[in-house]
Amino acid sequence: MKNIFKIILTVALIPISISCNDFVEVNKSPNDVSNISPNFLLSTTTINLAATYTDLAEMNGRVAPLLQYFQKNDGYQSDELNALIWLPNTRSIWQGAYANLVNVQAMSDLSVEEGNVFIEAVALVYRAVFMDLITKIYGDAPFSETNQLDEGIVFPKYDQQKDIYETLLIDLRTAKNMLEGISGSEVPVLDGYDLLYDGDKNKWIKFVNSLRIRMCLLLNNKKGELSVDIDAEFQDAAQNVFTSNDDNAVIYYLGTAGTNSFSDGPFNNSIISFSERMGQGYLDSLRKQNDPRMYRWLRPVERKWDREVSTETTIQYADPLGQTFPVELLPYPDGYDDLITDLYIGIPVGNDMSWTGFNAGPYANSDEPKFSPYLSRFADMYYQNANDYVNRKIITYSEVEFILAEAAAIGAFGVSDAETHYKNAIDASMDMWGIFDDYVGGFDFENFYSQESVDLNQATNKHERIMTQKWISMWLRPEPWFDWRRTGYPNFVPPYRADEPAIPIRFHYDTPNPPDPQYVDKYNEAVGRLEKSEFVKASSTDDHRSRMWLLQGTNNPY
């Protein structure tokens, strides 16, 4: 019996010992891969970078209403977006931006492994763009100790903003040098994976240089504190920046599924509620200078109050871009004296309630106001999944020219000829929005430019004029917020019903989560380096009206 026992035990043990050997193979996932070409991350990070940046000032971002481009016509969002009651952890880009930095780091590691200098350089550039965005929105931020979980760093320290920018300036220069070092005119990238420039080396160099001059100008007020010579950086970069709209760093939507469609198109927003309406002040600025871009961005009201008609009359209104819209003219109602009778109507900024009934006259109590036909809607392209004009713009030729114009106007970086740059900038914007193509009878730019409110020479304050026109041209883009912080221009009228008078100058940090003491300490250190402005009412310095290093001592914007 003992023998049988032994035999049986042995037989029982054999399959166990054999099958344990393939356990390592069994536990290899067939669903995912552990090593891939960095090209596959290049596509991901490029799209995500464009999205993170542009989302800030698009339909669901905080910055567009802040810049008074539009107001949300919807009660539950309006107290944050219109009245600028910002709270921590909402609409914060912190998590998303750092998550993308994880992939940028992985792309960098893989490119080194594969020996792809181009993608390695791109990783440096993308890291700089993400970090620039993070630090200029929040202030001091984790940087030098990020992505080191494997080395045991769970709670990276918050690097000082000054140190971050010094590193980024050099990183961008290094990236430019690396790109220049690649032989030939094409960079090594899988066909179809360079979504920005399709492998065009020189455009990549221009892109990096354009980002460099943007960063230098951002830092101009703090020039004296920096150990990197930003004059030299600017001048080095400015030699080869964008020279036409063909150079623009832009990602176009495809419109085949939600993930590649515009946020307000039917894929992502099947209920079209037209909840964004142009801010009245911005609209007035456009109207005042007879700006044809208004017709690209807006359509006329569907129902217009009209003192001239006595019965409802439908007319076909053709705008200067040749687009025709039916407009119902309604007799001006008795008992109302404040209805706006324009064809293009926006809404005043800053209301923390919904705009139900605004300019609806006797129809205020009706089912319609949320889709109010009494106010202008955005053009149809903003409700499509994809449209060539509606795209993700990282940096454009027009912006580059505005940077050069401003530098010249304030006498920075040795740039001259502000007017030419300024004119180029506006011209490029007109071009980008298809004004020259579509304006009925041809668009006379010189005539447009000669207007008193446009012409730089007729401006009493050239700096302000440039910044104001830049704000107008940079419709639905976040950069004017940083420009305004830096210069105080354009001089926004604070939202009339916002609870606190001043416009925010930063986002709250995300609350440390998990609230580990080490994490909280590091967060507190960073908060301690912020400076309360006179508008901070809360006890914490982590407020959207506290000054980060970039704004400290600059007396701007307040």
């Binding site: 399959p15 996932s29 991350l41 599924a257 989560n513």
Partner: protein
């Protein structure tokens, strides 16, 4: 069915006891002496023969059982004095033999809680009194008192230490079973289910497209179940390995063995109606709107709009001109009209055969349910086959296969999404005439059929249309098979080899019509998934009985292989509306995914039990597992268990009235591995960007050094049986420590990952479980029994890893955080920023910001504990009564204590939807509000004051402009001022360290009632925290057994008719509609399933079920 089932069941158990005794006797010598034969008949009180009664010569192991006619014949020594007759379910009797050679005995109905034989790990039958750990049992009879949709429903309230809860109370939805509380932080804490030795796959997380498809264990046919053993702690379960940490539910199906000789047929049929009887209370007094009673906003989710039937004129959708907002009968009753009476029909047929060399049983079951929502159904088909054949004296082979299919054309979407029909029906404004939305001919806009929905508002789907066209159907087949060979190699030494396989394949498809909110172009989503588990198991058994010792040894090994696979294709863009096929997906919109995972575990195990003089039993088990999912160095893990049972009544002289006095103690460990692929970080591909692939790195950091989890449990218990078993008690106290749990802890994304897998923590569960059975009245024609099952559990986190401050998640405004030292289930809230200076006269008041609202703090150190979702105790109350041929059975379930956070209530208030919620904190409208707040701050702190209009507590707007703006002209041309000014109670900082009162005085910042709610009740979890205490009458049956004298004439073995009631009565301490049970769907935190203590949009009406059941046996 009941009687026969019961008697068959008892027969099985009885025979098992008897044969186990007999087998022991084979090795002992029977003294040679003068023999005589005694014959006789055993009957019940009705005089009918009892089959299978054990007849034993007292003090020996010599015995027999009665035959089909209740007769026995036993050869005994001449000098034998006493015969002992025992039969489960009857009182044992001892009869003096004297000189009789014919002895007829009438057995009296027994009391509950006799010596039971229970099925334990590896399918080994053991006498319950020999076990050193707690085992819960439910007989097939008790399970099938009323036909339920799932065997788990049938077990509710019937076992101490077990918590069973179901989402939404919809037939077929997932049911969670948690044994001894949730002690694992990273799993759904579901026990392992084993059917006739075959482990089956079960999870409570079977969701698709917001639809709950129910769990696989619910597909079993309860009618095929002979008994259920619940091995509660690891002591009982160590032999099942890793997965036994949460307990094991051993389900034994009915076989042909122990049935009557030859062929037998049994049949039963039941019909039950589910009648909705209570609906979520919504108000129908005010129309849609957010701004307040002066403005109508048809598109608002909220109901803070104008008063209906009050002369308010407004333009509504699809109307040519403005008209008065009025209420509609079809709107007031819209829930009642939307839901319907459900019907469930079950039929079961079984054929069994019992012959000398072989036996078999084949059963067919069928379940059909029409839901309480339109176009919802559930069908189940069950086929069970098992058989056993003796090849020769030494070898027999058993086979079992069971095929369980469940399917539905559409399962209810009662998730919490805005567009789900159950929520949509509540979101319809009171002013809407429902008729066009109920009529399929007017669902679509004229000329745009199938393309543009008629909508009452743009952000709303018509629930009738969705119910009919946005369907999620599934078809699931579960197959369990077993082939087992038993070979008695020598006397006392045998080998059992088995191949055990279970598989599950499921096909789910979801379709969405065009123009659905969230799916502009419709959609089609198809998932084919499969799971398979195979076990090869070999085991040697050795039994030996010596004079004073009994020995049982099992040694074996197991190879397990688990495979999961799924393929999912979907499109969000149908080119041709209404054509649901992947090939109809627009270019670039189709997503293809597949997933495959495998896991292997090899094990060696051993078990030994030693009994001494039938009074002390010691059990030892040990197991070593090797798992493929752990790193090489940590792959092998060993865990032992030991338990001791001492029968005091056997060791000491005790009074006659003590039938059993037993104490027991057990210690056990169980190790656990992880899911596959948790050691290495991977890249995965997202949706293509045109022709370009997009990869990204997994943002969860894995861990190449993971160790197995170890759960250690200790338990002590006592069993007491008194007065001839008329009173029996089984009590257990246990402590379970879960160590090295593999947790996915959150890390700041700046570290490079959102979370990281670690081994951490010590979680300790402690609890009591007590079962009490008593036979209160025991007379010939009338009996009354009462069973009680008491459960109390507390789980504490003793420690977490370095750097982890708490474990848990936030849901709505409630933080389900547990800090080290705290109890699982703790609920916290972020309080408002407050005046913290104790010397200030405004100490404790919330700070009011310039928008008139408060803010909650973000610093977790300032969070306040507001409750805990665990019950103080749970009690199952099972009275049963018998009067002549009538039997009554009831099942009450009482859960006492604990709180839950209702997000449904939060939104109902926020949306102004809740009946009766028309204003903030009540106050004396004739008095000065400022003074009232100052006089009674505790009443008003953290509250808002005001209301929809003066009647409901609203104030007059002090600002003339506002007052004018918030007015309207009614149908009679009168100007109506809507006095709905409201405010949040608190103080405004004046900028100089002082405060300005926001008490309704001149400086008050006024809000609309909508914003008043949003400032206070919405933000504070406490405002929506309710008691979870309830009592439910889950089952009530009245059964009439047709007397045997009558049925014998009808050539039947048995005939019975039952009237059935389910959920006839519910009492909720909270007084609100929400069923607390729906907040306890799954008590876990890490795995993506729902959070215990959190309720969100379970707004399905309560139903009462009525029906009848007919059982017959030939």
């Amino acid at each position: 069915m009941h009687i026969i089932q019961l008697s068959l069941f008892l027969l099985v158990l009885n025979s098992a006891i008897f044969f186990s005794t007999i087998s022991y006797s084979q090795s002992t010598n029977i003294e040679q002496s003068q023999q005589k034969t005694v014959t006789g008949m055993v009957t019940d009180v009705e005089g009918l023969p009892l089959i299978g009664v054990a007849v034993l010569e007292k003090g020996t192991t010599n015995g027999t059982i009665t035959n089909l006619d209740g007769e026995f014949s036993l050869t005994i020594p001449e000098d034998s004095e006493i015969l002992r007759f025992s039969y489960i379910g009857y009182q044992p009797q001892e009869v003096a033999i004297g000189s009789q050679s014919k002895i007829n005995v009438t057995m009296l109905d027994a009391v509950v809680g006799l010596n039971e034989v229970v099925i334990t790990a590896l399918g080994i039958s053991r006498e319950k009194e020999s076990l050193g750990y707690s085992v819960g049992t439910v007989s097939g009879e008790d399970l099938n008192e009323t036909p339920q949709a799932s065997v788990l429903n049938s077990m509710q309230g019937k076992v101490a230490g077990v918590q069973i809860s179901q989402t939404y109370g919809v037939k077929g939805s997932s049911i969670s079973m948690v044994i001894r509380g949730a002690s694992s932080l990273n799993s759904d804490n579901q026990p392992l289910f084993v059917v006739d030795g075959v482990p089956i796959y079960n999870t409570v997380n079977n969701q698709f497209n917001q639809v709950d498809l129910g769990n696989a264990v619910s597909d079993l046919n309860p009618d095929d179940i002979e008994s259920v053993s619940i091995l509660k702690g690891p002591s009982a379960a160590a032999l099942y390995g890793s997965r036994a940490g949460n307990g094991v539910v051993l389900i034994t199906t009915t076989t042909g063995k122990n049935q009557k000789k030859g062929l037998g047929v049994s049949f039963n049929s039941a019909l039950i109606a589910d009648v909705p009887n209570e609906y979520f209370p919504i108000q129908n007094e005010f129309a849609s709107g957010q701004q307040g009673a002066f403005a109508f906003e048809g598109d608002a989710y909220e109901f803070w709009g104008p008063k209906l039937d009050n002369g308010f004129i407004a333009q509504q959708r699809y109307e040519d001109s403005p008209g008065e907002l009025i209420s509609h009968e079809n709107n007031i009753n819209r829930q009642k009209e939307f839901y319907q009476t459900g019907l469930t029909q079950t039929n079961n047929l079984a054929i069994s055969g019992n012959y000398d060399k072989a036996n078999f049983r084949v059963s067919v079951g069928n379940f059909l349910n029409k839901g309480i929502m339109r176009n919802v159904d559930l069908k189940k088909n069950n086929i069970g086959i098992n058989g056993n054949m003796k090849l020769n004296d030494k070898v027999d082979i058993s086979i079992m296969t069971s095929l369980n299919e469940s399917k539905s054309g559409n399962r209810p979407n009662n998730n919490d999404g805005f567009t789900t029909p159950t929520r949509a029906i509540l979101t319809i404004g009171g002013q809407v005439d429902m008729s066009p939305y109920k009529n399929p001919e007017t669902w679509w806009m004229p000329g745009q059929e199938g393309v543009v929905q008629r909508r009452w508002k743009d952000r709303w789907n018509n629930p009738y249309l969705m119910q009919e066209l946005a369907t999620t159907g599934y078809d699931r087949t579960q197959v369990m098979s077993k082939v087992q060979l038993n070979w008695e190699i020598f006397d006392d030494f045998s080998f059992t080899g088995s191949y055990l396989r279970s598989s599950l394949s499921q096909r789910v498809e979801a379709q969405k019509p065009y123009n659905t909110v969230d799916a502009a172009y419709g959609g089609y989503d198809l998932l084919n998934s499969g799971e398979r588990e195979e076990n090869w198991e070999g085991r040697f058994s050795y039994t030996k009985t010596l004079t004073d010792f009994d020995l049982l040894v099992n040694v074996g090994g197991n190879l397990r292989d688990n495979v999961k696979e799924n393929i999912r294709n979907s499109t969000t863009n149908l080119v041709i509306p209404g054509y649901y096929n992947i090939s109809n997906g627009g270019p670039g919109s189709v997503l293809y995914n597949n997933f495959w995972s495998q896991k292997k575990v090899n094990s060696l195990f051993g078990q030994a039990s030693i009994g001494y003089k039938n009074s002390v039993y010691l059990d030892i088990t040990a197991r070593n597992d090797w798992s493929s999912t752990l790193p090489k160095d940590n792959r092998s893990y060993f865990y032992p268990s030991a338990s001791l049972s001492v029968l005091l009544n056997e060791m000491f002289d005790m009074p006659e009235w003590i039938s059993l006095a037993k104490v027991r103690a057990g210690y056990a460990q169980v190790g656990n591995d992880v899911d596959p692929y948790q050691l290495e970080r991977y890249y995965n591909f997202g949706q293509d960007w045109g022709d370009t692939k997009r990869a990204s790195l997994d943002l969860t950091a894995k861990n190449a050094q993971l160790k197995p989890e170890i759960a250690t449990s200790k338990e002590i218990g006592a069993e007491l049986s008194l007065f001839d078993n008329r009173f029996s008690l089984d009590a257990t106290y246990y402590v379970v420590d879960n160590e090295n749990q593999i947790l996915n802890i959150s890390t700041p994304i700046t570290s490079g990952a959102y979370s990281k897998l670690i081994n951490a923590g010590l979680v300790r569960g402690k609890g009591w479980e007590v079962s009490l059975n008593s036979s209160i009245i025991r007379q010939k024609d009338f009996t009354f029994d009462l069973g009680l099952n008491y459960t109390k559990n507390r789980t504490t986190i003793i420690e977490l890893a370095d750097g982890i401050e708490y474990f848990g998640t936030k849901q709505g405004a409630a933080y389900f955080y547990t800090y080290p030292g705290g109890e699982m289930g703790d609920i916290y809230q972020a309080p408002f920023e407050k005046v913290e200076d104790v010397n200030s006269e405004y100490y404790g008041h919330g700070i009011i910001y310039a928008n008139g609202k408060t803010r909650t703090v973000t610093d977790p150190d300032k969070f306040e504990k507001i409750g805990n979702y665990n019950p103080d105790f749970m009690l199952g109350i099972l009275p049963s009564m018998k009067y002549k041929n009538f039997r009554v059975f009831a099942n009450f379930d009482w859960r006492s204590g604990g709180e839950f956070y209702s997000q449904t209530m939060m939104f109902a208030k926020n949306d102004g939807k809740l009946a009766g919620y028309h204003g903030g904190e009540s106050y004396d409208m004739n008095g000065d509000i400022v003074q009232q707040i100052k006089d009674n701050p505790d009443k008003f702190i953290d509250k808002w004051v005001g209301g929809r209009d003066s009647e409901y507590g609203g104030f007059v707007w002090t600002d003339e402009g506002q007052r004018e703006a918030r007015s309207y002209v009614n149908a009679s041309g009168e100007k109506v001022y809507v006095n709905d000014a409201s405010f949040a109670v608190g103080v405004q900082p004046d900028g100089n360290g002082g405060y300005i009162e926001n008490f309704g005085g001149p400086e008050t910042i006024w809000l609309s009632p909508y914003h008043g709610n949003r400032s206070q009740d919405r933000l504070l979890a406490e405002a929506n925290l309710y008691s979870a205490t309830y009592v439910k009458l889950r089952e009530l049956t009245i059964t009439y057994d047709v007397p045997r004298t009558l049925i014998n004439k009808m050539k039947l073995q048995r005939l019975s008719l039952s009237l059935i009631g389910q959920n006839l009565f519910v009492w909720r301490k909270s007084g609100i509609f929400i069923d607390p049970e729906t907040a306890f769907y799954s008590e876990n935190d890490g795995s993506g399933a729902l959070q215990g203590g959190w309720e969100y949009y379970s707004v399905i009406p309560y139903t009462r079920s009525f029906g009848f059941k007919l059982g017959a046996e030939f």
